[in-house]
Symmetry: C2
Subunit: 460 residues, 2 copies
């Protein structure tokens, strides 16, 4: 079967459905049955007649109609029998949410292997075990046991995320929902007994809805296939990788988490680079990079031009730019002269263009336009101190016009603060301009754009 | 004069007061005159008779009463004359907000030197120029040109921050206000023409209201005095340092920002360590460290014990712990046995104690208590996936009791998510338990506690 069945299944059985709110088998059923998913949903539990007003089946084989997908949330020892039954019923894909398998050692590993071999016999595919499963923003398939009250779901869009950790999955989904970043497909695959990263990456590489692929992983299974899948995909769309288990201590925790050893990190790191993947250091950076890559065009080079009404963050940004192998743009004399001529006397031309605390939106307009026109600048990086009261409300309108007039040069902003700053940040983000709360994070977003532009060039 | 005059002045003249909302001279006056500051406020501007309903003076010498502090926001060339006049009037402290001095090169540097020599003649002290000045949470002195609508002010408390960058000052103040972290004194000193870091650090070292000192700096003036002040202070309270200008590019930007070269970073780094200062990598880390140091006791060692209902972040945390020179605690057989006996079968004892997605608040209670009792654990680090619906609302009550019963072992939490998670995070922080949004940030908070505990031990 194609992996698309997981995302587009028209019928789902929840095996281990429960009447008790808060229980995993209850929350999964509720999320599938009571919200946006339009397919058929069948609760399965031998002890219940009815759950949430729906008829409850003793076994999956009792269900009168076709069942494409089964979500399993029962103790590990009962899973093999249920998988066998799913096979006989003609189920095509299985998501095993339950934990208690390979991550616990040999006994669990054996059950896991048994399950996979049963699935193979019937041509079924498995996601999990020990995971939160899948989410598709179009079909609204949603196998999570996180209630809607506790976990927001993102809108439809272009980012797909696959993750070995369900927890990072939750973080990602809520981050995307709050930032207004659209998601295409999401898979939490836990112990990865069957469907693995290479297969998912290739599937997403060919998926028209996905423009950016992000991966959180702990253990590397088949390293060669993984690198091949990244290599094949990265020429078409960015593949961002966050990998844990860089140290022995981390690797040991990974083993007890998802049953996989993390492997030698330096080897992984250079293999990823060769394959054209972009590695993020942590979850925050992964998200920062995703935001830049979905919102901004790719730059022609790595020369950054800054403009600000408070230069402290520019000092930190300059450090970070150099440490990341990028450059502070050296403005042409012509641009410097124009800046001097067109800006008020309190402004200091240079890189950064320091508009000082007296800056108005008009000053930003002049300075950003000149940096957009400057050939020696590849990425424009404005920092805003929205708290500085001379900076008037016209700034959003200014940025909107700049966005429309210069769609080809990327712009990455920085601003840090509380309510008022967050409001302005949101207004900028709503018009497609990414804003980061610290200079280092803005630079790492710019770095992702530049790195992917290099990858594209070298792989055409 | 003692630096305390700056923070406790009972009368302030605003020189360059303006009628126009949004202008720097208007906003400063407004913040001093219309909010919590109880001292006398005198607008000074030769062109106005009245501003904000207050009588406006042509010069500072016209003011009938004593003036302890003057805040100056006029073009640089007019500043020396005004400072001379302040001297004659008997003003004791001056905050020069205006920019356009040393940061612009030789001409500005000369004016700056002239100002300082005038001040010396009269025994006056200067903060600035090119800064946002001072804030005292008790006297409510507030020389900012950031309106209250745009920038929150923090409550009274134990953290003092001195910063060369006004922008980072704004970030810090709003962060503290939102996180509910109390601030004692705040100084943005810009070009640092007179009052400098060593003097401020020693003042804060002796200040009873200050328990944690944080510094953002670009250029080092007198390195020896700086290190002496840190060395003297760090045995009594933590001194956190964020220094920009690690690279040549950063140093160049610093020069045009506040007129100071940043110096050789490696030398600075090792000198800071020797003096007992704690260096933060960026503003986010500085804030993370402050939060831990004001909220938590110091640990006896560097062995971290984790507990979680979703282990992905623990893998990343373990990496980060080892990279920071700390250790994953190795639990005693006794603790492992107790965990096995007292926790439900779905839980996996070890470090982390993996309570899995089925975890309830009772499971956290059992596990955290056992880690608190375990001698081999110095810092307890719970990670929460609040999205996981089996985790009941009782968790805050559990943590409150643990806080009261184990006040001597530090606890640092991690949780990441949107609305619901933020609500739970806030509830934990309100009972004094710090929560961080990523595992790396939780670890850097733990690192600050451990590092300061080492500094204290070595300096007793």
């Amino acid at each position: 079967m194609s992996l698309s069945t997981f995302f587009e299944a028209r019928s789902v059985a929840v095996i281990g459905a429960s009447k008790t709110p808060g229980k995993i088998g209850h929350e999964i059923l509720k999320n599938l049955a009571l919200y946006e998913y339009k397919g058929k949903v069948y609760p399965v539990n031998p002890k219940e007649k009815e759950i949430l007003g729906m008829k409850c089946y003793k076994t999956v084989s009792e269900i009168e109609n076709e069942v494409e997908l089964a979500v399993i949330a029962i103790p590990p020892k009962s899973v093999p029998g249920v998988v066998e039954e799913c096979g006989r019923k003609g189920v095509r894909g299985i998501v095993i949410v339950s934990g208690g398998f390979k991550e616990l050692g040999d006994e669990g590993r054996e059950i896991e292997e048994q399950i996979v071999s049963i699935a193979r016999k019937y041509g079924m595919r498995i996601i999990g075990p020990n995971c939160i499963g899948i989410y598709d923003s179009r079909s609204k398939i949603d196998t999570f046991f996180q209630s809607r009250e506790r976990m927001m779901r993102p809108k439809e869009g272009a980012v797909s995320f696959i993750t070995q950790s369900g927890t990072f999955g939750c973080s990602f989904l809520e981050w995307a929902a709050e930032e207004g970043i659209g998601v295409a497909r999401f898979v939490s695959y836990g112990n990865r007994a069957d469907v693995d990263e290479p297969e998912l990456i290739e599937f997403l590489g060919e998926d028209e809805r996905t423009r950016v692929i992000a991966v959180y992983m702990e253990g590397v299974g088949d390293g060669r296939r993984l690198m091949q899948s990244i290599s094949k995909t990265s020429r078409r769309k960015p593949v961002l990788i966050l990998k844990a288990g860089r140290t022995k201590a981390g690797s040991r925790v990974a083993l007890s988490h998802t049953g996989w050893l993390a492997g030698e990190d330096r080897i992984f790191d250079s293999a990823i680079k060769q394959a054209g993947g972009i590695r993020a250091e942590n979850m925050e950076e992964l998200q920062d990079m995703i935001k830049a890559l979905v919102k901004q065009p790719l730059p022609k080079g790595n020369r950054i031009g800054m403009v600000t009404n408070g230069a402290g963050p520019c000092v930190m940004a300059a450090d970070s730019i150099v440490e990341r192998g990028m450059k502070m743009a050296e403005l042409s004399q012509e641009t410097l002269d124009l800046l001097k001529r067109e800006l008020p006397p309190y402004c200091v031309p240079g890189n950064p263009v320091d508009l000082t605390g007296s800056a108005t939106s008009k000053d930003y307009d002049v300075a950003i336009r000149l940096l957009m026109e400057e050939e020696r600048v590849d990425i424009v990086m404005p920092f805003f101190v929205f708290q500085d009261t001379p900076l008037d409300e016209g700034i959003i309108e200014v940025m909107l016009r700049i966005r429309d007039e210069y769609p080809e040069k990327p712009i990455i902003c920085g601003a840090s603060g509380a309510n008022y700053t967050r409001k302005k940040t949101k207004e900028l983000e709503e018009i497609g301009i990414p804003v980061y709360p610290t200079p280092e994070r803005a630079v790492s977003a710019a770095y992702a754009l530049w790195t992917y532009s290099l990858i594209r060039q070298s792989r055409q």
